[in-house]
């Protein structure tokens, strides 16, 4: 394994480690709960979000279990409606949106730009507490009635639904603050705290993706905040913003909601794309096919993504002209993602590829994201969307992107940066097995849903006609395989934290800046700051410290 002896290690005679790692510097609970170290905050987020993923996953499994038979299987209609809603709310706001930025973004962004921390470390800690508080409120709402409107809270049903809407939406509102503060922190850090000599066009691509994500977070989330206020006032106090009998327009709600929620899906996928860029270049030991294309397309997605929201509303009664405009813009935004896919794939050419677990997950990403992305282009073809809207086709499309894309990239990042964060290495064999289970399970769960949608099965349906049962059966069994793969992953990673072999500073041979400090890093990130004028993606010349 390539070792890069930049850090005075305990192996050197007569020396102590120059500084303890960020993990070892203070191990009291108090030091964790009051930390302002971005690395610890990243770990706090990581642990909390894994719980959120488990909870959201539990609801998903329950929903799929109910679908084993066409009519009542294990729960009532009201319970089912609450379960699919909570699955959506928890997965979107408690997991997907913060998933990569708040964990890996927090941990790595300052290191990757050569800073000692983010611009506002105390605000960073506040972000995590807001996330925890908002999540707690959402969890409490589950026990006092839950919500059954779907994660989209469409009016006027959300105005009348006799469930715990004000409480649940208040929880999401608080989490929104957390998102905004994180995005704000990352933007300011990237602009003002880059190390000397590190220009924008030499930053790791992961930073570009986090930066673009942060722009969206900061601009879109406030709109969600306002919209949630509207719905709470309508539901809790009958203020009637979207009440037709008082002159309100329920479709206006959809415009405002999707103005946030479409950019939100880019918040969810852009960081994953950043992970792909890092893993592909590291494991093929090659420069990206076009750095600028990948960097600029992230910004392109961030901005054009704000212009496409109406494609969720082609059958809402909107004007034909508006619908057409949204359709064209949706096609435009897809091109940016396509640019990235081709660049990643062509980066592999003439590389020196090691097919390890992180790269396996990236291959899964490439296939599933392209499939999911192209079905996204398909639903942007408006006549086709008339048939597919609100059916299982759309459910399959977004799960291919969110799970096949984001979650896969998250797990890839988890494996890639595991040695950096924990200082240990996991078992490669178990990694490969899990990856195979996750990919197979995922595909079996969601591919049949494309067919269900084609056949006309609408989403959010508690019962269905018997002829759809075979496809539902395959999907449910697939979900068991997917869950098994995820649980095995959790087990061997936890095992490795305590009993895994120590990993050196750079077990993958990557040249990105985070690999030029120890694993785990010291509290202030670098003991001896490396030169940030080196290209993190240049594998064409030997590094001074490397053997050959």
């Amino acid at each position: 394994m390539t070792t890069m002896p930049l850090e005075p290690s305990s192996a050197m005679p007569g020396s102590r480690a120059a500084s303890p790692t960020y993990l070892g510097v203070d191990t009291t609970i108090r030091s964790w709960l009051l930390t302002t170290d971005h690395k610890r905050i990243g770990v706090l987020y990581l642990v909390s979000m894994l719980f959120a993923l488990a909870l959201g996953g539990f609801f998903a499994m329950a929903v799929r279990l109910e679908h084993l038979s066409p009519n009542t299987t294990v729960m009532s209609a009201m319970a089912y409606n609450r379960f699919f809603t909570l699955h959506g709310v928890i997965m979107v706001w408690l997991f997907l949106i913060p998933s990569i930025p708040s964990s890996f973004g927090n941990f790595l962004l300052p290191i990757m730009v050569g800073a000692k921390d983010v611009a506002f470390p105390r605000l960073n800690l506040l972000s995590w507490y807001l996330y925890m508080a908002g999540s707690a409120v959402v969890l409490v709402s589950m026990f006092v009635g839950g919500i059954d409107t779907g994660w989209t809270f469409y009016t006027p049903y959300s105005t009348y639904s006799p469930t715990a809407i004000p409480l649940a939406l208040f929880g999401v509102f608080i989490i929104g603050f957390s998102t905004i503060l994180t995005g704000l922190n990352f933007i300011v850090t990237t602009h003002t705290m880059r190390a000397k000599g590190l220009g924008w066009l030499r930053m790791p691509l992961f930073v570009w993706s986090i930066y673009a994500t942060s722009i969206i977070q900061v601009l879109a989330t406030p709109v969600l905040g306002m919209v949630l206020i509207f719905v709470v006032l309508d539901n809790g106090f009958s203020w009637g913003f979207f009440d037709a009998s008082r002159g309100g327009d329920p479709v206006l709600y959809q415009h405002l909601f999707w103005f946030y929620s479409h950019p939100a899906v880019y918040i969810m996928v852009l960081p994953g794309m950043g992970v792909v860029s890092e893993v592909v270049t590291s494991f093929s030991r090659k420069n990206p096919f076009s750095y600028k294309a990948i960097a600029y397309s992230s910004i392109g997605i961030a901005f054009v993504g704000f212009l496409t929201w109406g494609h969720h509303m082609f059958v809402s009664g909107m004007s034909r002209f508006d619908a057409g405009a949204f359709g064209v813009l949706s096609m435009l935004v897809a091109v940016f993602s396509a640019i990235k896919v081709f660049n990643w794939t062509w980066t592999l050419k003439k590389g020196a590829i090691a097919l390890k677990t992180p790269l396996l997950y990236i291959f899964a990403f490439l296939f599933l994201f392209v499939f999911g992305g192209m079905t996204g282009v398909a639903v942007a073809a408006m006549s086709l969307d008339v048939h597919w809207h609100d059916t299982y086709f759309v459910v399959a499309h977004f799960h291919f992107i969110m799970v096949g894309g984001t979650l896969t990239a998250f797990v890839a990042g988890l494996h890639y940066w595991f040695p950096k964060i924990t200082g240990k290495m996991y078992s490669e064999r178990w990694g490969v097995l899990s990856a195979a289970l996750v990919f197979t399970g995922f595909f079996a769960t969601f591919f049949p849903q494309f067919l269900l949608g084609n056949a006309g099965m609408p989403r959010r349906y508690y019962t269905y006609p018997p002829e759809f049962q075979a496809l539902h059966l395959v999907s449910t069994v697939g979900s068991w395989v997917l869950a098994l793969g995820m649980m095995i992953t959790l087990v061997y990673l936890l095992h490795a934290i305590w009993w895994g072999p120590p990993a050196g500073p750079s077990p993958w041979g990557s040249r990105s800046f985070e690999w030029r400090t120890s694993s785990p890093p010291p509290q202030h990130n670098f003991t001896r700051t490396p030169s940030f004028e080196l290209d993190p993606y240049d594998y064409s010349r030997p590094m001074p410290e490397e053997g050959e």
Binding site: M78, V335, M374, V377, A381, S383
Partner: protein, 352 residues
């Protein structure tokens, strides 16, 4: 085509638009599958060909040529825009109703579909239509947003409270086709289903004459059991009298508090804000539900709101009445209408 539909799990294409839509579907999905496979295969090929031989191995610095990137971007953009173009043209066709369509009024409520036909009958959950003639649905909701979806026809449109939306289709083969509600609307959302029964022309004619209705839920505004056997125009006159529309609107061309209904349907109206609109079903329905939005020039904004007061059946009946007067007043109105003199036009005039 049927083979393709079977593989893709698509239902039969029972409407006139289904074939071309399914062709676009095939085009798009095939390219999707080819591209994902291609990307994966390329990645697999590169991995095999450029396997890492030893740690610390160096690689050549390879960057994309501008030409290469431009070609890829251009080709993809061109392909996506081509799909948009085809899809948009089909979408426009889906949104533009033919002039001679048969009209059925649809009232959606939790958790059932109510249909009202021009000849007066109503039915729950079962929509009977002729094969080979276009049918237009004028839809509104009594409560929350629903969505009318017939997969076999490849049509769908949201049904909104407080306004109307329209959807049209032409069945090209007889059969029974499921209707689903496609917008989550509460606990029994998945039970809000119906059926379209498409009958060949002669059978449809027989069905119309026989007056047979699957289920009658009488809601003509006159109480249970008082609905049958009356066409919508006559019913419209009864509603106009009972709801006192005729206190302000005449049926014979005489000017009064509100515009006369004679020669109203299909005419161009000049509104107080300068806009010009055609008085079609949409305009007439809006005028009953939100009268202050479109006030005709020369008239005062005094019409009361009927949102929530008129049922779908009554609204339909009034619209049919107004339609029947499009060429001028009828010979005998059949109902004695009260005439109210205009005494004071300052605040509401003679409006009830």
């Amino acid at each position: 085509m049927d083979f393709v539909r079977a593989i893709l799990a698509l239902p039969r294409g029972a409407s006139t638009v289904a074939d071309e839509i399914d062709l676009l579907h095939l085009f798009v999905i095939s390219v999707t599958m080819i591209m994902s496979t291609f990307v994966f295969a390329a990645a697999a090929w590169f991995t095999a060909r450029y396997h890492r031989r030893h740690e610390g191995q160096l690689t050549e610095r390879v960057t994309a040529s501008r030409l290469h990137e431009s070609v890829v971007i251009g080709a993809l953009l061109g392909l996506f825009l081509l799909w948009w173009l085809i899809g948009y043209r089909q979408y426009l066709e889906l949104r533009k109703e033919p002039e001679d369509a048969e009209i059925v009024y649809v009232d959606a409520k939790q958790w059932m579909w109510k249909f009202a036909y021009p000849d007066g009958r109503t039915s729950n959950d079962i929509l009977t239509v002729p094969v080979g003639r276009p049918v237009k649905l004028v839809m509104t909701s009594r409560d929350v947003i629903h969505s009318f979806y017939v997969p076999a026809f490849r049509v769908k449109m949201d049904v909104l409270p407080g306004r109307y939306t329209t959807l049209w289709f032409e069945a090209k083969e007889p059969g029974t086709f499921p209707i689903w509600c496609a917008e989550y609307c509460g606990v029994s959302h998945s039970l809000m289903r119906g059926e379209v029964i498409a009958l060949p022309a002669d059978e449809f004619a027989r069905w119309q004459e026989s007056g047979a209705v699957a289920k009658v839920e009488s809601d003509c505004g006159r109480g249970p059991g008082s609905c049958g056997g009356e066409d919508l125009v006559s019913r419209g006159r009864s509603v106009a009298e009972r709801r006192q529309c005729v206190a302000c609107h005449t049926l014979d061309g005489q000017p009064h508090v509100g515009p006369t209904w004679s020669r109203l349907y299909g005419s161009e109206r000049l509104l107080t804000d300068g806009r010009r609109v055609i008085a079609d079903e949409a305009y007439l329905t809006r005028s009953m539900m939100e009268p202050s939005r479109e006030v005709v020039a020369g008239y005062r904004e005094v019409m009361p709101v009927y949102q929530g007061l008129l049922s779908a059946g009554e609204t339909a009946a009034l619209v049919e009445l107004i339609r029947s007067l499009r060429n001028g007043p009828l010979e005998s109105s059949g109902v004695a209408l009260p005439r109210i003199e205009i005494t004071n036009v300052k605040d509401g005039g003679g409006a009830p």
